[in-house]
């Protein structure tokens, strides 16, 4: 599901007022003051459960009812999930899965406000927010619960994104792809030489020059769509790769200062801001489809609509190289297990089911209004026509195959996971605010330095967001 899409911001996980919850359960209205005092006391005392990675609580009997919290985003994916859950229930009688959808834009706030006990057994989480969930005790390691074969079949980028300290926490049906879609006709008319693969990518300067050429040829005066109308997680997903492409990192050694605001990033930001005159505001979300712009910088989820509108005129290209090679994003919604509820074994059966080839293919293929997401299993990926070497989206598969993993972003690797830390929501929030300010004309050095300082202060306040265990 989920196409990773612009989720609401920051998933902070819940009030680990797990302890407090039981105190105020079933409190009569009259004794509210008493329960409030209890809440105070508990807050002051140990506070909450969690804070440690969820101990592998007893996985249960492997039978019974499990509750599944799914992200309600695109109607095609919703239907796919509904069908899969129904098929799972029909195929065996040990485990009954009860499905519950939460609208995508509500998901983060709802999750923040739910304690582990009340959360579903199986939950759908956006990759980079996984560590925050782990820290709040809402996700547990799935090694040993999910079958080895399933794990082995997951593509490397997913394993990289969803592993912490050697333990795997989630299993995915999809990974994401990010690139620049192009309108061949418009590109040709402006005489642009565009990349055909990962070997001849644009440099940032070439890209800027080409934008000017395209804008000159287009009556709208614009050349590029950056999905400015998307909110939430999009700016971070879409533009954080530029930081790595410029040769820097977001945080190193627990500090953002000196990295997020390094000279390379500032230079890249300036270049990015210089594109503004050529960028369409895209309020109607159809600048590319209606031909107002020749290029659209966005992820895999628009592929069905774009290919329907442009047909063979559509081309998919890598992002420009800001000095350290072309870099792109990765990571998407995946399925994890809330082991604190004690139904790990039963939940794992559903995960195994979700991750089998039939379902993965179903989910991502056009058959069910799939959204063009990259299948997250080796076998399904191998069979996919979209992602085959001759397929239109092969680039995304290639990029993910060359993931930088959790190591440093070298010149050759392409897909970079977003920073893997429980403090990720703050990074995302502060980065996207700064990035948009820069785009709107603010001084890049000042904005990036400020973002770095805000991030560092927050990390300091929270003890570096250490994950124990």
């Amino acid at each position: 599901m989920g196409q990773f899409g612009p989720n609401g911001p920051g998933c902070f996980g819940q009030a680990q007022i797990g302890g407090t919850t039981t105190e105020v359960d079933n409190v009569k209205p009259g004794s509210r003051l008493a329960s409030t005092t209890a809440a105070f006391a508990l807050l002051l005392a140990v506070g909450c459960g969690g804070g440690t990675t969820n101990a592998t609580v007893n996985g249960g009997s492997g039978k019974g009812t499990i509750v599944v919290w799914a992200d309600q985003s695109q109607s095609g994916q919703d239907k796919a999930t509904q069908a899969e859950v129904a098929a799972f229930n029909a195929s065996q009688t040990d485990v009954k899965a009860v499905l519950k959808f939460i609208p995508d834009a509500d998901l983060d706030k709802t999750n923040q406000a739910t304690s582990p006990k009340e959360l579903g057994d199986v939950v759908q989480v956006d990759g980079p927010y996984m560590q925050a969930w782990i820290r709040e005790g809402k996700l547990g390691p799935i090694n040993g619960l999910v079958s080895a074969q399933t794990i082995q079949n997951q593509i490397p980028s997913v394993i990289a994104q969803d592993t912490v300290n050697g333990k795997l926490y989630m299993v995915a049906q999809i990974d994401s792809g990010l690139g620049i879609y192009g309108n061949k006709a418009l590109l040709g008319a402006a005489g642009i030489t565009y990349p055909t693969g990962l070997d001849n990518v644009w440099t940032a300067d070439q890209f800027t020059a080409d934008l000017a050429k395209l804008a000159a040829k287009n009556p709208s005066g614009k050349a590029l769509d950056l999905k400015l109308n998307y909110q939430g997680e999009w700016p971070t997903y879409g533009f954080l790769p530029i930081v790595y492409s410029a040769g820097s990192t977001v945080m190193t050694g627990g500090k953002a200062a000196g990295h997020l605001d390094s000279t390379q990033v500032v230079a890249a930001a300036k270049t990015f801001a210089s594109w503004k005159p050529y960028v369409d505001a895209n309020t109607d979300d159809s600048a590319f489809v209606k031909g107002r712009v020749a290029m659209s910088w966005v992820g895999h989820w628009v592929y069905p609509a774009y290919s329907k509108a442009l047909g063979s005129n559509l081309v998919v290209m890598p992002l420009p190289d800001f000095g350290n090679g072309t870099k792109t994003g990765q990571g998407s919604i995946a399925w994890g297990i809330n082991t604190s509820r004690g139904n790990g074994k039963a939940a794992a059966k559903l995960l195994d089911f979700f991750a089998n080839d039939a379902n993965v293919t179903d989910y991502t293929s056009g058959a069910v209004d799939g959204d063009g997401a990259v299948p997250a299993t080796k076998t399904a990926l191998a069979e996919s026509t979209l992602y085959a070497p001759s397929g239109p989206l092969y680039l995304f598969a290639q990029q993910l195959n060359k993931t930088c993993g959790s190591g440093p972003a070298t010149k050759d690797c392409v897909a970079v996971p977003r920073p893997q830390t429980p403090g990720y929501p703050v990074i995302s929030s502060d980065f996207s605010a700064a990035w948009f300010n820069i785009f709107n004309g603010a001084d890049p050095q000042a904005e990036l330095t400020k973002a770095a300082q805000l991030i560092d202060t927050d990390f300091q306040d929270n003890g570096g967001y250490q994950l124990s265990g």
Binding site: G5, D104, D106, T110
Partner: protein, 304 residues
């Protein structure tokens, strides 16, 4: 005024200009003035209401035609698709159903309003018209609380009420007593002439009797206003339910609209259709109360 004589008696007569004006008052404005008034009022009103017209029309148009300048007003491509898709999108207990959302919202808002009218009006009456120790202190407290925005207390309130997740109770209980409603009632009651109650009090009626027999009948505009405002506030409430509700079967309407707002492709047509459906009940409530409101205001000639 001139002192002319009519029939030998001295009489005060009006000057010509004044006479004309009084004549105007007696017979009503001239036809020209009526026409002018309409000539101004009608276009101004239409212009004012045009965003609402836009919303209604856009709700019947395909998503990609909503943002197309004046073209959206053309009569082509009108369809109920946006509305139908809302029903098909929300079709079962896993997603919640539109009627389920509607029922939840109606239930929660109605209880909030009925409870609120009762609780807030009597408190305001006691503050406005009765004398008792501590009154001024409490009044000050209420006014101070009017300033506290909900966003300020959302998280602490959430910590307090976490045990009541996924119930109807948690959606209406915290909002029945409302500082703003009390203040509205208080201003209204305080502005009523004292003479209204004096007769009853002299006759020995207690505070409750006075409230029901004198205050209540004269306070219809206040009740109507508070009802409308509290209903609206409850109906459109989003931040609170998002924190305390995850179960689709007790989910209120505003949470469901997020499905169209958070994820691309943005269905502007869908959003407008959802908006129309959300606002219709409020319009109905308003239409019911406003006739009551306006009529009783004119009848009683009460100060606001």
């Amino acid at each position: 005024m001139s002192n002319a004589t009519i029939n030998g008696r001295r009489a005060l007569t009006l000057s010509t200009r004044a006479r004309d004006r009084v004549q105007v008052g007696r017979l009503g404005p001239s036809r020209l003035r009526i026409a002018l008034s309409y000539a101004v009022l009608v276009p101004v009103t239409i212009l004012f209401v045009s965003p609402i017209i836009y919303m209604f029309i856009a709700s019947f148009k395909p998503n990609n035609e909503v943002l197309s300048g004046f073209a959206v007003f053309s009569p082509q491509d009108l369809s109920l698709n946006n509305y139908l898709s809302i029903f098909s999108r929300f079709s079962g207990p896993d997603t919640g159903t539109f009627t389920g959302f509607l029922t939840t919202s109606l239930l929660v808002s109605s209880v909030t309003v009925v409870g609120g009218l009762a609780v807030n009006s009597i408190a305001a009456y006691a503050l406005a018209r009765l004398r008792w120790p501590g009154r001024n202190l409490l009044l000050l407290g209420v006014i101070a609380l009017v300033i506290v925005p909900f966003e300020a207390i959302a998280v602490p309130l959430f910590y307090m009420l976490d045990g009541l997740r996924n119930t109807y109770l948690v959606q209406f209980l915290p909002f029945i007593a409302s500082p703003f409603s009390i203040y509205l009632f208080y201003s209204f009651f305080a502005g009523l002439p004292k003479s209204l109650e004096e007769a009853a009090r002299v006759d020995g009626a207690g505070a409750w009797r006075t409230f029901f027999s004198i205050m209540l009948p004269n306070a219809k505009p206040a009740f109507a206003t508070v009802a409308i405002l509290q209903f609206m506030s409850s109906w459109s409430s989003f931040l609170w339910p998002v924190m305390v509700i995850d179960d689709p079967t007790v989910r209120p309407l505003p949470l469901a609209i997020s499905v169209y707002v958070g994820t691309p492709p943005y269905g502007w047509g869908n959003i407008m259709a959802f908006g129309v459906m959300m606002v219709l009940p409020m319009l109905v409530v308003f239409l019911i109360f406003q006739r009551w409101f306006i009529r009783s205001v004119v009848a009683s000639g009460v100060k606001g």
